[in-house]
């Protein structure tokens, strides 16, 4: 079977699942309305709790699974939705195997022209015609993305079948989740910016819907709105960048854009600098919105209001990496504007250290992971900024494993603790939920950067590239190193607070701790395995004792970043000759930093639990600032939100009452006036004409009426007279 020519089918499988769910899902899962019955304020993982509490006592709830019987038709949902993603995954594996055998490793399938515009004069005077295909592009970059989206997506779907078991709106959840996978696949498979934007907006929509999944909680609805609005700011930048790209380059198709940009027609030195920089910056603005970079990262921590699998899939593994993917896609553009790349790297570094510092002191287990995600995305942008695109994608790929693992693991913890998210009320879970503990242990080691695990290879490569590549600098490296220390610290703070030490939860919750069902632990195990072995396809060049097959990731992506690798190879070549010793030293340094972070966390939270509190008191203002996330939300509220919500509100009320209502009233008044005139016209002119004509007919009919007597003999007489007149006429003639 030729998978390559039918890659357009890949997104359609989840779309089918989504349509089935959203159209007839309610019939398959009749108990849906119970979603609304959940007590507010509790993470509704513990639906059975909320439900039981509503029935008068938590004792009703014994273990889990007994609260209500799920209908047999739920199996349709359970099989269909993850199944559709699995089919997509297998399909894409087939397509990618076939892709690997192509010499140039690029395959485009254009189904039809989606938008065909009119001819248009570009800035240099030549004619161009805007056109956007409904076309799909499979190349090494999108291949990696497709595998991550469908592979990790499938595992998270399976996990959700267990996690969402006791939630109302089962079908709704899976419908949205499948819809998300559809849009995400459109995003990564699109062959032009316009179609990518469709997927981009679609995943934003699904993100909004799933953050607000527990819509009866006001905080969830607000978080959804916040995510939507903040993302729109970035999307405006993306759109403007896309329009600018068309008006300058005359195309929005990836391959054509790359071709035009690499053809040498555009030189930053020859007056194209401003326009190319603007294009790159606008696209990057879009990426900061979607990928939660400073200053638009504020929505992501709030997005944790959604169900935990959503946090894992959308807000850690796939959607938030779309910005990184888009920037890597535009690598030719970013390479032409080194200053913009520098900005990207700086924003990435700043975001990484800012959010890592916030993560140090958060108490909500999911918030720690959320800030950790923002920080790791910052790493990816650092890599993009210094021109190491394949490393960014590599980190994206390893991060998908261990961050999805950590989120799902935290979901399992929350599940076990009946909805508790505050780490201050956890502890000592190590032996009670062993599978969750072991898998999260591996995930935390991986993200901290312990050698041998996935996170080590990608993070170390990023740090090395920021240090050594021509676009990098030692300052950025230093920021990255400090962030690596913080990462190790906050992750192990999370581990120690959650799994070690004395249990701090209340006895009721403690009595109900249970390991999650197999549907949840199996995905955890698979992801843990991925976090261990996933990195071994991108080992550093420095480890020359390993054969080249351990560096397959970079070679696989080479055709996409062809110019990038020309630069980078040069630099790496130079670097490897000069600084093999430096690289070993830096690698050792980052491992040492990670170990220090882990040991410090162990010291503060396991050995001497009082010390952390003392430190917290001593560094009061700093702690408060960090705990309140540098007051960024408050600043935004002050600068933008309040202005719109209050001042803008009254201004809008005035606008409403004067302009809008005035317009409506004016239209009404005008309608009445016109109606009056129209009525007068009708009564006097139209009706008058009708009456006049009937009167004329009546008047003219008088002579004829006299002739018509109704007597049959009168008619006969006329008849005879007429006949005689005829005869007389002929007689006379």
């Amino acid at each position: 079977m030729n998978f390559l020519d039918s890659i357009w089918l890949i997104p359609l499988f989840p779309l089918f699942g989504a349509l089935v769910m959203l159209l007839i899902g309610k019939r398959l899962d009749p108990q849906a309305p119970s979603a609304v019955a959940i007590a507010p304020g509790i993470e509704p993982v513990s639906d059975e709790h909320g439900g039981a509490a509503a029935h008068g006592g938590r004792e009703l709830h014994a273990g889990h699974g007994g609260a209500h019987h799920s209908p047999a038709t739920r199996w349709v949902i359970r099989l269909l939705c993850p199944g559709m993603v699995l089919v997509s995954f297998l399909f894409s594996v087939g397509a990618i195997i076939q892709l690997a055998s192509l010499p140039e490793r690029v395959h485009q399938v254009v189904r039809y022209t989606w938008i065909a515009g009119l001819p248009f004069h570009m800035q240099d005077g030549t004619l161009a015609r805007f056109s956007a295909d409904f076309g799909f592009l499979l190349d090494p970059l999108s291949a990696v993305m497709v595998l991550v989206v469908t592979g990790v997506g499938f595992l998270i779907h399976v996990y959700s079948t267990g996690y969402m078991e006791h939630d109302g709106g089962y079908y709704r959840f899976f419908g949205y989740l499948n819809l998300f996978v559809f849009f995400m696949l459109m995003l990564v498979l699109a062959n032009n910016y316009a179609l990518l934007f469709v997927g981009w907006e679609g995943v934003g929509l699904c993100s909004y819907l799933l953050i607000g999944f527990y819509f009866h909680k006001k905080s969830a609805g607000d978080a959804g709105k916040k995510a939507f609005v903040v993302n729109r700011v970035g999307d405006a930048g993306f759109l403007l960048g896309m329009f600018l790209m068309f008006s300058v380059l005359g195309t929005v198709r990836f391959l054509d854009v790359n071709h035009v940009l690499t053809s040498g027609a555009f030189h930053p030195e020859e007056g194209h600098f401003g326009v190319l920089s603007a294009m790159a910056l606008l696209l990057f603005l879009g990426a900061t919105g979607k990928s939660a970079q400073f200053p638009l990262y504020v929505w992501l921590p709030d997005a944790m209001e959604g169900p935990t699998p959503v946090s894992a899939l959308i807000h850690a593994a796939t959607m938030v990496t779309a910005g990184v993917y888009m920037c890597a896609r535009s690598s030719a553009l970013f390479q032409l504007t080194p200053e913009t790349s520098m900005i990207v790297a700086c924003v990435g570094a700043f975001t990484a250290i800012l959010s890592a510092s916030i993560a140090l002191v958060q108490n909500d287990i999911k918030r720690v992971l959320a800030y950790s995600t923002v920080s790791q995305l910052g790493y990816m942008f650092m890599a993009v900024g210094v021109g190491a695109y394949w490393v960014a994608i590599f980190h994206l790929y390893t991060h998908a494993f261990f961050k999805a693992l950590l989120f799902l693991g935290s979901g399992s913890v929350i599940h076990a603790l009946s909805g508790e998210q505050d780490m201050r009320r956890m502890g000592g879970l190590k032996d009670k939920i062993p599978v969750t503990f072991r898998t999260m242990f591996i995930g935390s080691l991986a993200i901290a950067g312990i050698p041998g695990l996935a996170g080590f290879f990608s993070k170390d490569e990023i740090l090395w590239q920021t240090y050594s590549s021509p676009g990098g600098s030692q300052a950025i490296y230093l920021v990255g190193l400090i962030t690596a220390f913080m990462t190790a610290f906050y992750m192990w703070r999370l581990m120690f607070l959650t799994f070690y030490g004395e249990p701090r939860m209340d006895p009721h919750t403690a009595a109900h701790i249970h390991e999650s069902p197999r549907s949840m632990t199996v995905p955890l195990t698979v992801l843990a395995a991925g976090s261990v072995v996933g990195g071994w396809i991108g080992v550093p060049k420095l480890w020359s004792f390993l054969p080249d097959s351990f560096r397959v990731f970079e070679h696989w992506l080479e055709p996409v970043f062809v110019r990038a690798s020309a630069h980078a190879a040069e630099a790496a070549h130079a670097a490897s000759h000069q600084d093999a010793a430096t690289e070993w030293a830096l690698m050792g340094l980052s491992v040492a930093v990670a170990l220090c972070g882990i040991l410090l966390a162990r010291h503060l939270y396991l050995r001497k639990p009082g010390l952390a509190d003392a430190l917290q008191r001593k560094a009061g203002p700093l702690y408060t600032t960090l705990y309140n996330k540098w007051y960024v939300d408050e600043i935004y509220d002050f600068l933008f939100v309040n202005g719109v919500a209050k001042g803008g509100g009254s201004w809008m009320a005035r606008f409403d009452s004067r302009i809008v209502d005035g317009g409506v009233n004016g239209a009404g008044w005008l309608t009445r006036g016109i109606a009056t005139v129209s009525m007068w016209w009708d009564t006097w002119v139209i009706d008058g004409a009708v009456r006049l004509s009937s009167f004329m007919v009546k008047l003219l009919s008088y002579p004829v009426r006299i002739l018509q007597t109704g007597y049959v003999q009168a008619y006969a007489l006329v008849f005879v007279v007429g006949a005689l007149m005829f005869l007389g006429y002929y007689w006379v003639r």
């Binding site: 009426r705 018509q708 109704g710 007597y711 049959v712 003999q713 006969a716 005879v720």
Partner: protein, 102 residues
């Protein structure tokens, strides 16, 4: 004794025609009007027969037979209308019936 010529027949026919026409126009009783119509038709018949004899052809006679047949039908229909009219209007006087206007 003069022989009876075609002219005699034509005069007779004309007289019958005039009597019939005047009867149709002037009599009030519809039965009489129908009878007057029969007179007109018979005037035509005489005309046809006379010319058939004069010209030595049978087609006139055949036409006369046709006319008689049509006259029978006309009488039947006319009398039928008359009876229906009488049932509704209780009259057979033509001047009392003036529905045929407007």
């Amino acid at each position: 004794m003069h022989p009876i010529t075609t002219a005699h027949y034509l005069v007779l026919s004309a007289i019958l025609l005039v009597i019939g026409t005047l009867g149709v126009l002037t009599r009030r009783n519809i039965v009489i009007i129908l009878m007057s119509i029969e007179l007109i038709l018979n005037a035509v018949n005489i005309n046809l027969i006379a010319f058939a004899r004069h010209l030595g052809q049978v087609s006139g006679q055949i036409f006369a037979i046709f006319v008689i047949v049509v006259a029978v039908g006309e009488a039947a229909v006319g009398l039928g209308i008359l009876i229906a009219l009488f049932r509704n209007k209780e009259t057979v006087q033509a001047d009392e019936i003036d529905l045929l206007k407007w």
